[in-house]
């Protein structure tokens, strides 16, 4: 039993299957990659896991507890947090207030022994938000906004962290630093599920990689295995020129 178990999930939009019988497991202390071309269904899977999208079939379980019928906020309170591919910051609040909201919601339901403010300050330092912490969130660059979303997810102290293309908009140095944060998170025990088009980043941070194509898992394995998988090369990695930055 992994920390997060997805079993046989299918999603249908109109006549199209966005996901077909997808199963994956995310262990604590690891970073699990989820890659695949645009439209493969990665974001849809995140929506199913976080309860924003009801699946046609299949189930999501955390720590062996079936989350069927759990509202998004129930899932979050059980230790799940995510970022969004299309940034969902609170635009009229400052970057710092975005984190505060996350920390305060968390404290409201678990009483938390750490003061919300302290946690926010540490997070701001950790992800290097200080220079823009007091700017309104809708004035941030994409890179900044992605970091703020990461910070906002972290202050809810998730056991499972879902990141939807968190490095798009970051430059090489920033990505490098970001990778270190990810490893640090895994080191303290978090289960990270990472959707990312930056293949080098995925290859060097992930322990296990799932490859999704047309809503189906076409491969699972270590970075080395994935790199050599013919199906994956054909569907996604094949022509490096096609891979989005």
């Amino acid at each position: 039993m992994a920390l997060l178990d997805v079993t046989g999930v299918s999603v249908k939009f109109g006549g199209n299957m966005a996901l077909t019988d997808v199963s994956l497991a995310v262990e604590s202390h690891t970073i699990t990659g989820l890659i695949g071309p645009n439209g493969a269904g990665k974001t849809t899977l995140f929506n199913v896991i976080t309860g924003l999208q009801d699946p046609l079939r299949g189930k999501v379980a955390m720590n062996g507890i079936n989350l069927d019928g759990f509202a998004p906020h129930d899932r979050s309170q059980r230790g799940m947090a995510r970022t969004f591919q299309r940034i969902e910051l609170f635009g009229s609040l400052t970057a710092r207030e975005n984190l505060q909201v996350g920390a305060e919601i968390k404290r409201a339901w678990d009483g938390g022994e750490v003061r919300a403010g302290d946690r926010v300050d540490s997070a701001i330092e950790l992800i290097g938000m200080a220079p823009f912490a007091d700017l309104r969130a809708d004035r941030l660059t994409t890179g900044q906004a992605r970091l703020v979303e990461l910070g906002r997810a972290l202050v809810t102290r998730p056991k499972v962290l879902l990141l939807d293309e968190p490095a798009s908009g970051l430059d090489a140095d920033e990505t490098e630093y970001f990778a270190k944060i990810l490893r640090g998170l895994a080191k303290v025990g978090m289960a990270v599920l990472l959707v990312e088009h930056d293949i080098p980043l995925v290859m060097k941070t992930c322990h296990t990689i799932y490859v999704l194509d047309f809503g189906k898992v076409i491969a699972v394995g270590s970075p080395a295995e994935i790199r050599q998988n013919q199906l994956v090369i054909d569907a996604y990695l094949g022509a490096p020129a096609e891979v989005e930055a």
Binding site: H29, L52, M80, G91, L135, D173, I181, V188
Partner: protein
């Protein structure tokens, strides 16, 4: 009218023909509701804007038709054609052009409020054009010719209505699915820019959908005008029946909307025939349910449908840069402001005439009721169209509990009861999107207006006397008291805004999906703020009653909540000072129109005009003034503030100053790991399980 008893006497055959007659009438009503509702659905699905003014536009259509066909004696068919094919579409085009285009980059709240402003403006405008003193009538089509079906007669007019409704259904289906402009109309709502990319013209599509929507509204108005009469309010609020029908189709499905219309039409007409007469024990208690409930059927249906509608999925919509948002209040400014406000009020009372003391006190009470919208609408982005109804509940409570001597316990109960009722109203709508809450509150306002406040048991002989405690007997003292109460509530609101709850509301307005994935129970949060808001409105109502020393049902009509929302938003619904400004502005209208009678009809239309113009300055007047003052002060101090000030917005597309670095220009060391632990610090079990 009819009753089961009467029908039973009439014998078997008549029983059936009565049933047939009610069924036919039901289908005819349904056909009109369906036409009206389909117009609503068309604008909603193609422009993404819920058009509250749909009914008012239909009303204008019916009046225009009267002007052409009756007043100017044009041939009927020509008059209909001109209204439906020229005037109504032109009006729709104008609405799109002048009003809706200006609303890009504004919130859903602003968009809805603008259509509410349009509603109110048209309601006020119609009697200016068509004097209410003149008696108007339109004849049914074909001069009421009819044929017999058994013992039931059906007019040609009724046949036309049914045929037109079917034609509209087929026509819309073909238009939206089989023609290019139709398909691109449906696409506009999904993504304007995408349509543009594919060579479509989103502006033209949006104009087309408004033109079509207005035409359908006018069609419904014309067809029902002979039955309802040319009466501004009843024609305008035909839209409530349309809402009830459209909501069955979740505002998007035309077939389900038609089904909703059919159910509503039949239920309404069977209720006329078969609802039992008012039971004696209720009559004895001055309660009449039969007539009142009959009127309230559409709103009751609206509520029932809201209760059974499935949970709408939350969608991430991406961060949009908005033109809206105001500077946070600061404690120093707030306290100085409230102090100055109380002192100013006290000073002003010394100079006002007795009459004007009451007029301006009323303005302050309106400001207090508008203040109830600041947390709800300003912070939380939810709309209520029932604030005056909650005020009415507060006033009645104060009258009944406070008694002659105005026991202040009455005020406390006014707040609590209004809040409790607020919870009951909001509950069915809270699981759904914001627009449904607005509809539920509108339905509730009508229900209270028609079914509750109209009961003799509630308002006795049409008015209740409300007492004041002895120390507030003097009107001047009472005015200062209102200012103090406003300030106390204002301080609470500022305190909320600066604390976790206010931040959470603001967050909920910006991204419900993100809030939910952070663990926020949206339903509970909305319920909390709605109760708070209803409670403040209840307090305002109690003050309203105490000010006038009486309360009457007309003070709290369903319609009276519309200008409250409009003026609050115009003043600046995200700020306490905005509510004050809105109240003063609204309260100044009667004072001005008394001083300068020539302006009085203009002033009636004013809230509507102000509402319509919100697209230009969605942050309200208070913010505008505040920003100007702040800039003036900064200038005098010789300080040039750069982009740090977020309250004064440029056009959304303009570039903005960006901080260049992300601050990640250092390595990652062990101290960072400690930092991570500090931020996330996971449970023992997780950490203990160790690396795989």
């Amino acid at each position: 009218m009819h009753s089961v008893a009467l029908l039973a006497q009439a014998g078997g055959n008549d029983l059936f023909s009565n049933f047939l007659a009610f069924t036919i009438l039901g289908i005819v009503s349904a056909a009109i509701y369906a036409i009206a509702a389909s117009g609503l659905v068309v604008t909603y699905t193609t422009s993404g804007i819920f058009n509250f003014a749909h009914g008012a536009i239909g009303m204008m259509g019916a009046f225009t038709y009267w002007q052409l066909a009756v007043k100017w004696k044009w041939p009927t068919l020509l008059a209909i054609a001109v209204v439906l094919l020229v005037i109504a579409p032109a009006f729709g085009w104008l609405i799109d052009r002048v009003i809706m285009r200006g609303l890009e980059g504004t919130s859903e709240v602003t968009k809805i409020v603008v259509t509410i402003g349009l509603t109110f403006g048209l309601i006020a405008l119609a009697p200016v054009i068509w004097s209410p003193r003149e008696n108007r009538k339109v004849q049914p089509l074909f001069a009421g010719n009819k044929f017999e079906l058994g013992s039931v007669s059906i007019t040609y007019h009724q046949i036309v209505i049914i045929v037109v409704a079917l034609a509209v259904a087929v026509g819309l289906r073909l238009l939206l699915y089989k023609t290019r402009p139709g398909v691109s109309m449906r696409a506009v709502v999904d993504s304007r820019s995408l349509v543009q990319l594919n060579g479509g013209r989103p502006n033209r599509s949006s104009a087309l959908s408004w033109a079509l929507g207005c035409s359908l509204a006018a069609l419904a108005g014309i067809l029902i005008a002979d039955r309802l009469g040319l009466e501004v309010l009843s024609l305008t609020f035909l839209v409530i029946n349309a809402y009830a029908a459209a909501i069955v189709g979740r505002l998007v499905s035309l077939p389900l909307t038609y089904l909703g219309a059919l159910i509503l039409g039949l239920v309404e007409n069977y209720a006329v025939g078969y609802l039992p007469t008012n039971p004696q024990f209720l009559t004895d208690r001055d309660i009449d349910l039969t007539t009142t409930l009959r009127i309230a059927i559409p709103v009751i249906m609206l509520f029932i449908v809201l209760l059974i509608l499935p949970h709408a999925p939350l969608r991430a919509h991406g961060l949009q840069r908005s033109r809206e948002g105001v500077e946070k209040p600061t404690w120093a400014w707030a306290l100085v402001g409230f102090g100055a406000f109380i002192v100013a009020t006290a000073t002003v009372t010394l100079f006002l005439s007795d009459k004007n003391v009451v007029s301006w006190s009323k303005a302050l009470v309106f400001a207090l009721i508008m203040l109830s919208l600041v947390p709800l609408t300003g912070f939380g982005g939810q709309i209520s169209l029932a604030q005056m109804t909650f005020a009415g509940i507060g006033a009645v409570t104060m009258a009944k509990v406070g008694g002659e001597s105005g026991n202040l316990l009455g005020i406390v109960l006014a707040i609590l009861i209004a809040a409790a009722v607020g919870a009951l109203v909001a509950l069915p709508a809270l699981r759904l999107r914001g627009i449904y809450l607005a509809l539920a509150t509108l339905a509730f306002a009508f229900f209270m207006d028609k079914v509750v406040f109209s009961q003799k048991a509630v308002f006795e002989n049409g008015s209740l006397s409300v007492g004041r405690p002895p120390f507030l007997e003097n009107d001047r003292v009472f005015m200062v008291f209102i200012a103090v109460v406003f300030s106390v509530v204002g301080i609470v609101v500022v305190w909320l805004r600066l604390g976790p709850f206010g931040r959470r509301l603001q967050a909920m307005k910006d991204s419900p999906a993100a809030c939910a994935t952070l663990g926020l129970n949206l339903t509970v949060t909305k319920l909390q703020v709605f109760m708070l808001s209803a409670g403040i409105a209840g307090l305002g109502g109690a003050m309203f009653g105490m000010l006038q020393k009486t309360a009457t049902p007309t003070n709290f009509e369903a319609l009276s909540s519309l200008p409250i929302l409009l003026m609050a938003v115009a003043g600046g619904v995200s700020m306490v000072s905005g509510a004050l400004l809105g109240g003063l502005l609204y309260g100044s209208f009667p004072v001005i129109s008394e001083a300068i009678p020539a302006l009085s009809s203009l002033l009636l239309v004013a809230p509507g005009l102000i509402g319509i113009s919100l697209g230009r300055n969605p942050n309200g007047a208070a913010n505008e003034i505040g920003t100007t003052v702040r800039q003036a002060i900064d200038k005098r101090r010789g300080r040039i503030e750069h982009d740090k000030e977020p309250s004064k917005f440029r056009a959304p597309m303009e570039p903005h100053l960006e901080v260049e670095t992300l601050g990640i220009d250092r390595g990652f060391g062990p101290e960072d790991l400690a930092l991570i632990d500090e931020v996330v610090r996971l449970d023992e079990e997780v950490v203990a399980s160790g690396p795989p």
